[in-house]
């Protein structure tokens, strides 16, 4: 049985369709990702799952319940990490966790040790008594994530969880999220970071303009929509356009971006050798493995670099 099941899920704001008849399922214990550019409809979908945005059409069940009619029941089992922090800046870090836990009707003798545990999880033990307004952006983010765990959620909704975190904090968080998953928590996350999606998601959907354009495991999507390797070359903005014609002859697919040209080929090194042998002289060049970034470019025609 899936813990989340969406069929033809649609959200319109007036005439504008933000989420356009998407269908997906999330299995218990799975880590499921929503990937897409700004405005794709990811956050709107997350809010519908929490029952705080009303769908225009389609069906949606979360843990077997309709979040619109059973909002409190659904949210009691949900941990929500919204895209924008909603901490109380005037309260101390620790009190933020406690006040939030109270909303679930949790008693103080549960919340006091829980708050300490969560501060530890967020590596904020030293800041327990600091006002939130005195925390850095990344610390606030970590506190928001920890707060979402106060009710021992069965499903954790993470809307761009690591935006604003430094690389080290991101890696620590990935590790902890992975462990939460091992503990049986279902993760649903959105992200703009392709490495994050590859690391964390068992399965993901790529959303563009409110529609699902691809679905699958990260590696499967890469195999399906991209080549094994990619050659990146730069000729400087002036020469990029002029090189396009020549390069197009050399392999099946190329993408010309404002600052570089990507050549898709299963044998990257050989292709780069050929480019150099013909004396095309790129300013810089590199061969790398395909990533979700390339899948994205292929599917949406846009790159997704933050």
């Amino acid at each position: 049985m899936s813990v989340i099941e969406a069929r033809g899920l649609t959200k319109k704001f007036g005439d504008f369709t933000a989420v356009d008849a998407i269908s997906f399922e999330v299995a218990p214990g799975e880590s499921f990702g929503l990937l897409g550019p700004n405005g794709a409809g990811k956050s709107t979908t997350m809010r519908m799952i929490g029952g705080t945005s009303l769908r225009t059409d389609g069906t949606l069940t979360v843990l077997g319940l309709d979040p619109e009619t059973h909002g409190p029941e659904v949210r009691a089992s949900l941990g929500v990490v919204p895209q924008q922090d909603s901490l109380d800046e005037e309260l101390r870090a620790r009190d933020n966790l406690i006040v939030y836990g109270r909303y679930f009707g949790l008693p103080m003798d549960y919340l006091k040790p829980k708050a300490d545990e969560l501060l530890e999880f967020a590596q904020l033990t030293e800041k327990a008594n600091a006002k939130v307004s005195a925390l850095s952006g990344g610390m606030k983010r970590r506190l928001t994530i920890a707060r979402g765990l106060v009710n021992e959620p069965r499903i954790l909704l993470l809307d761009e969880p690591t935006t604003g975190l430094d690389p080290q904090a991101r890696h620590i968080l990935w590790d902890r999220l992975f462990r939460l998953k091992e503990q049986g928590v279902t993760l649903v996350l959105t992200t703009h970071f392709m490495d994050e999606a590859e690391q964390l998601c068992d399965r993901l959907v790529v959303i563009d303009h409110g529609r699902i354009v691809a679905e699958g495991a990260p590696q499967a999507l890469i195999r399906q929509y991209s080549t094994r390797e990619v050659v990146e070359v730069r000729f400087g903005s002036a020469r990029n356009a002029e090189m396009e014609g020549v390069l197009r002859e050399m392999t099946d697919r190329i993408e010309v971006l404002p600052d570089r040209i990507l050549l898709y080929d299963d044998a990257g090194e050989a292709l780069l050798d050929e480019i150099n042998r013909r004396g095309l002289n790129p300013l810089t060049s590199l061969v790398r493995r395909s990533s979700l970034e390339d899948v994205f470019l292929r599917l949406t025609g846009r790159s997704l670099i933050d």
């Binding site: 009691a76 679930f104 545990e117 021992e152």
Partner: protein
Amino acid sequence: MTRQDAVAPVSSGVTFSGLDHVELARRTRRWGWLHYSRYRQAAEKPFFWTAFVTAIGNPVLYLVAMGMGLGSLVQGDVDGVSYLWFVAPGLLVATVVSTGAQFGTWPIFGGFKWMKNYLAAQATPVEPWQMAVGEGLAISVRMFVQAFLFWLIGLAFGAWPGAASLLVVPIAMLASMAMFTPLMAYSATLEEEGLQFNFVQRLIVMPMFLFAGTFFPLASMPAYLQWIGWVSPMWHGTQLARIVSYGMENPPWLTVVHVVFLVGCIVGGLLVAARTFTRRLVR
């Protein structure tokens, strides 16, 4: 417990003790408004001293200026009693109602716009209508305390003829809520603050203060101004306060009207606020 033990080697540091989520949801369905009001009380804590000093300072200033200063100029009795006895219940109610009006505007609007406290609560089982009721509860407790402090100060000034005057405390709280809840309902609809709150302060609260029978009986005003009293929680509250304080003569039907008006404003305000909160939060 077994679940936790089984995964101990890779624990994230967060324990899963097997909380009963069904029970949590049931609890919040029933008590969510109370949970929310606790938040409001916690959020007000940093402002305790400012609030306390104001709650003590206001009555002192008003009673000195109006009761004794102005009162010394008033020749003879007003409504059969000394001016101090007449004006004290009015001042108490007017002060508490004004504070209620303040709470109904910026803090509510700011909660949606800047503070995000409603957004935070919305991600939990607490429902929007419970937030509105919870705000009401927290503010009414606060108003009760403020009214009681005013009453205590009044005692030192000899402003109360008898023990029954203590009833002005719940009456002031009621009147203040009658002002607070409709304003809260309105504030939840505002996306951008323009001149609305200045308008509320200058064209509703101020005139009420001056023309709703606080300083002189409504009946001594021209008939075409008396409606200001009739539509204001301040006047209805003040009249009730005078009845319990110095035993002001009032036809029973009119006393009933005062109570019904205040309760009507509170219930109506809460019903509308439940709607405007939901509209604002669930889109």
